[in-house]
């Protein structure tokens, strides 16, 4: 009886106080805004296949399906340039046109809305690749409207070593894995203002394509505001299965690119009472457009998790 009383009276009290609050479905009517062009562009120094542009459109909030609404038939190009005493001088000879098309590297599958340098198909050694220190201009023309963005590839920072540690056992209903986390060790350059994003490829995504399909650290990306010039040991919170072979890509990026991906990380994990609506820090110029042209100076290192 006593315990019944305790449960009947105390449990709701406890539930409330310990924030185990109750939740119900609730219809929320939103006002739809104007459709936007969504731009996802990459230029990196290591993987020509991973230099591409994805164009899509935003949807009304309750439209069915969550996948992207591809935008085809756009004119997309990337031009290389160099910063000379503050101004960027564009080398029009380097202008590369990106078009949609099936690539043998991707099993000739159709990827609507993906724009590549078509040299990847027949002359991949000379396909578009970024050079550290250079600037790149993305121009897009779609349905008579112009959009553009500029990014610069910083000097890549080398990964010294990858070390494994923080072992734990991850048990699900039917599987039990021994897992470990990977620490990326590198020396932050002496100049302040260096920022990095981390991606990885392992068994689960070994054949996947695109930066979005790689593993990435949702919770922390690196900026050296507080740790300039220090030896950094940055542990990725993702747990890798022991024996897995993992490649870590550390992409050094300029600040606007870091800001965009930082806002992206905030926007993707953002609900609850403490959330604020996050608007992505777009780097694309033009009307009703959101997105980022990301210049990555990538360093790669691989390790077998043990």
């Amino acid at each position: 009886m006593k315990s019944m009383l305790l449960k009947k009276i105390c449990l709701p009290v406890l539930a409330s106080t310990l924030l185990l609050a109750c939740e119900r479905d609730y219809d929320i009517t939103v006002k739809d805004g104007q459709q936007q062009l969504i731009v996802e562009g990459y230029i990196n120094n290591e993987f020509p296949l991973y230099n591409y542009v994805v164009l899509s459109r935003s949807k009304d909030f309750y439209d069915p399906g969550l996948e992207n609404l591809a935008v085809s038939g756009a004119t997309v190009s990337i031009t290389e340039g160099e910063r000379v005493s503050g101004d960027i001088q564009w080398d029009e000879a380097t202008r590369t046109v990106l078009t949609e098309g099936r690539l043998p590297q991707l099993a000739n599958s159709a990827l609507p809305g993906f724009y590549f340098d078509q040299r990847l198909r027949y002359d991949s050694l000379n396909a578009l690749v970024g050079k550290p220190g250079k600037c790149y201009k993305l121009t897009i023309e779609v349905e008579g409207k112009q959009y553009s963005a500029i990014t610069q590839l910083p000097v890549p920072v080398a990964i010294d070593t990858l070390t494994c540690g923080f072992y734990y056992t991850d048990s699900n209903a039917d599987t039990t894995y021994s897992k470990a986390r990977i620490t990326v060790n590198y020396k932050d350059p002496d100049t302040i203002g260096n920022t990095q994003l981390f991606f990885w490829r392992h068994w689960d995504n070994r054949k996947s394509f695109g930066w979005g399909a790689l593993g990435t650290n949702r919770f922390a990306s690196g900026a050296d505001d507080l740790v300039n010039g220090q030896q950094i040991a940055f542990t990725q919170s993702y747990g890798f299965v022991l024996g897995d072979s993992v490649s870590i890509y550390m992409a050094s990026v300029e600040r606007p690119v870091y800001n965009f991906w930082d806002s992206f990380n905030k926007a993707r994990s953002n609900d609850g009472p403490f959330a604020t609506p996050v608007t992505l820090q777009s780097t694309i110029q033009g009307e009703l457009v959101t997105g980022c042209f990301s210049g990555f100076s990538v360093s790669v290192k691989s390790v077998v998790v043990q």
Binding site: L18, A107, G239
Partner: protein, 786 residues
């Protein structure tokens, strides 16, 4: 049954003043010899007010006078006497015992008080009202008054006339409180057992108060009993309280120590150890007060407050690393006050205080342990003088000074992840103000209070700023300031004017204009107040906030003050308001200024208040019709948008009915327009790739937003009821006890704590969700005193 005692201390000097006037000096005290600061005196029907020390002085021609005294929580008294020489009168009003008698809410009549836009509640009133989980909370109760709003369910943030939660000067015995809440605002730090009354000033703020834009919320603690040892306490569902008071030196000095602790964590472990694991939360607080009557004219008081919250949260995620969070935070305040009466017309009060707020937290996220601490320490001194040369004039003057030391954050992470130790630079500032104010009775029908406050703020070194580029990247340059070197200096005059026009003995019109300046901003991005919120001083780029408010009101009472009504309207502008960019990082960010945007705000509205103060049925109705907006060049495309806590309609009904000698019933009904929120205006997929193992696209669904705060949450309404039972036979005994039975949210409405849109990428579904905290919640509390 005459329940008052009059001591006439006839003036020894039979001097007859030149104008044939005699000084009548009145002191109103309670049976424990403490000043009754909220008393009203009617001298031949002309209403006057005592000051905070219970004093009132006037000059009158010789003759026969009828004096009538009233005060909240006290039995009224009246007598007739002949004035034929300078006379000092001490009147003792007997308190109404909350456990003994029906509380007749004899709130001080505000009709002829110069101070407008103010409301006071006595602890006896507050204790009768139903509250969540039986926890008496004055900060929650004052949100039942018009013009004072809470942030929603379980939020203790107060929003006065469109101002933000950091714009209220919350004073505990005159000392500012930086974080008046326990966990996330469910409970305030004020323990009912230690309190005497609470007063809110929403407009026409007098010149002696400053440093915050919107309101003054003054909470006064009781002094201990000077005659005998007394114990008071209560046992509730989630917390217990105990207060001990008594004389140090009988009749001259007393102490009061009051403490409470929640034991939800302990109860939780008994009931559901498995599901709760190491999760837990508790807080405790201690109020202590010692006061000494040094002699007839001098008294000394020591105030101490200590409160600590401890919160532990463990989340063992199936698909990833576990999260552990432990935070310990609280206020510590120590103050010393000397009160002195210099002759009959002059008195002064000098106080010094040390005020600390500290937060220590440790967060373990996967492999990472973040240790983060922040806080601030203030040393302050203040001195107030009041000179009352005659009943037509009162002059107030004073100064105050505070040395601020802000510790925005020291943190380090351990265990491999970006090993670093880091200190965001401390910030230091001088804040000072001086004021002069006069209460002048121009004619019998017109009174004017005119004051000027001059405030000064100086942020000083030592510090070294890291300079940031507009894109948020550090430039590598630093700007250094040596010890004491000024970084940014501001000073502003703050005029405060109020006028009262007496239309009849029972009605008046009041007008006021005030300008207020606030040099500290609270950095918060969340709806709930969180101990990690930071106080940030005005500096090079952060300007002090300024507000100007004009208000007009009409008040009337009838049936000998049994009923009182008031209607007030206000218009307020606020400049240099701060918002954080969406997704701003507050912790361990040395470029906080880079995360801020600056704008302005306006607020206007009408407040209605009708109160019945006597009889078996007492209570009030409050209603506010208002609008508050913000306008920021960098937000919402520069267009004005509603403030999150803009509430078009806000109403409350509070009733207390004496059923019998043993039973009391109280009910509270509240209604408010829902908060405004920003909702997405569309959606897109980003981070698009292709997973060839599963042969499907990979992406992240991202919302995009157009208009700020253009969505309204559903209206909030709720009814609470409580019953108080006192055993009649105990009522004349020393040991007395009472039971309080409460029901919170009687009709079990699911008022949302928050709502959100849940986008499930795996199932490709979108569903709105509503989270609510408190369904119908019963509570029971046993109170005792002896």
């Amino acid at each position: 049954m005459i329940r008052y005692l009059v001591l006439l201390l006839l003036g020894m000097t039979a001097q007859i003043s030149q104008a044939q006037l005699h000084t009548l000096s009145i002191t109103v005290a309670d049976s424990a010899q403490y000043a009754v600061a909220n008393a009203t005196i009617k001298i031949n029907k002309l209403e006057q007010f005592v000051d905070s020390t219970g004093h009132y002085a006037t000059s009158l021609p010789p003759g026969k006078y009828r004096l009538y005294f009233t005060a909240v929580g006290h039995t009224p008294a009246s007598f007739v006497f002949h004035l034929h020489s300078d006379t000092a009168v001490k009147v003792i009003l007997y308190p109404r015992e909350s456990l003994l008698n029906n509380v007749i809410v004899t709130a001080r009549s505000t009709v002829h008080r110069n101070q407008m836009s103010t409301q006071a509640l006595n602890i006896n009133q507050i204790e009768k009202l139903p509250v969540i989980l039986g926890e008496v909370d004055p900060l929650k109760t004052i949100t039942l008054l018009p013009g004072v709003k809470n942030g929603g369910e379980a939020s203790a943030g107060l929003y006065v006339r469109g101002g933000g939660p950091d714009q209220n000067l919350v004073l505990l015995d005159g000392n500012p409180i930086y974080n008046p809440n326990h966990l996330l605002g469910f409970f305030s730090i004020f323990n009912g057992d230690a309190l005497r009354n609470i007063e809110v000033i929403k407009g026409g703020i007098p010149a002696e108060y400053g440093g915050r834009l919107s309101s003054v919320i003054a909470v006064d603690t009781r002094e201990g009993n000077r005659d005998s040892l007394r114990v008071k306490g209560g046992i509730g569902l989630i917390s217990s309280r105990l207060a001990v008071e008594g004389p140090v030196d009988k009749g001259k000095s007393s102490f009061l120590v009051s403490a409470r602790r929640t034991y939800i964590d302990q109860v939780a472990k008994l009931v559901a150890k498995d599901s709760l694991g190491d999760n837990g939360y508790y807080f405790y607080d201690v109020n202590a007060k010692v006061d000494f009557q040094l002699n007839k004219n001098n008294s000394l008081g020591i105030n101490f407050y200590l409160g600590k919250d401890n919160f532990m949260f463990v989340d063992e995620d199936d698909d990833g690393p576990s999260r552990r969070f432990n935070a310990l935070w609280g206020n510590t305040i120590l103050g010393l006050t000397w009160k002195q009466q210099l002759g009959k017309r002059l008195r002064q009060e000098l106080s010094i205080v040390r005020n600390d707020f500290d937060l220590d937290s440790r967060m373990i996220y996967g492999a990472t342990t973040y240790i983060y601490s922040s806080g601030l320490t203030d040393y302050g001194a203040k001195n107030d003088w009041v000179y009352s040369p005659g009943r037509w004039l009162k002059i107030k003057a004073g100064w105050q000074y505070t040395w601020h030391n802000f510790r925005p954050g020291a943190g380090n992470t351990t265990a491999g992840v970006q090993d670093f130790k880091n200190n965001i630079q401390d910030q230091f500032a001088h804040e000072a103000a001086a004021y002069l104010s006069t209460d002048l009775k121009l004619t019998s029908g017109i009174s004017v209070t005119a004051g000027l406050r001059y405030s000064y703020f100086n942020q000083v070194g030592p510090t070294a700023f890291v300079k940031y580029a507009p894109d948020g990247a550090p430039t590598g340059d630093k700007e250094s300031y040596s010890h004491g070197q000024s970084i940014a200096r501001y000073h502003y005059p703050e005029p405060r004017v109020a006028a009262l026009f007496r239309l009849s003995p029972s009605s008046s019109i009041k007008l006021s204009y005030t300008r207020t300046v606030q040099y500290l901003h609270l950095a918060t991005t969340s709806a709930a107040t969180f101990p990690g919120d930071l106080w940030i001083p005005a500096g090079k780029n952060i300007q002090p906030a300024l507000a100007e408010q004009a208000a007009a009101g009409y008040s009337k009472d009838w049936n000998n003050g049994a009923w009182e009504m008031s209607i007030e309207t206000y218009y307020k502008t606020m400049s240099n308001q701060i918002e954080f960019k969406p997704g701003a990082r507050l912790l361990l960010n040395q470029n906080l200024e880079g995360e801020m945007v600056f704008g302005k705000g306006t607020a206007y509205g009408v407040e209605l208040f009708l109160q019945k103060k006597t009889g078996r049925l007492t209570g009030w109705v409050g209603y506010t019709l208002s609008r508050t907006e913000r306008e920021f060049p960098d937000l919402n495309g520069g267009k004005p948008f509603p403030y999150r806590y803009d509430r078009t309609h806000d109403g409350s009904l509070v009733l207390n009915y004496k059923i019998s000698r043993q039973w009391d019933v109280s009910g509270v009904f509240v209604y408010g327009t829902g908060n405004s929120l920003t909702m997405p205006s569309g959606r897109f997929a980003y981070g698009v790739g292709y997973n060839r193992n599963e042969r499907q696209p990979v992406f992240t669904s991202i919302n995009h937003y157009d208009q700020i705060n253009d969505y309204r949450m559903p209206a909030y309404h709720r009814l609470d009821i409580s019953f108080t039972y006192v055993r009649w036979r105990e009522q004349e005994k020393r040991f007395r006890s009472s039971w309080n039975f409460g029901i919170y949210n009687v009709y079990n409405r699911y008022n949302p704590y928050f709502i959100y849109l849940d986008v499930e990428e795996e199932t490709q579904t979108i569903q709105g969700k509503k989270v609510f905290l408190f369904p119908i919640v019963p509570s029971v509390t046993w109170n005792f005193k002896f």
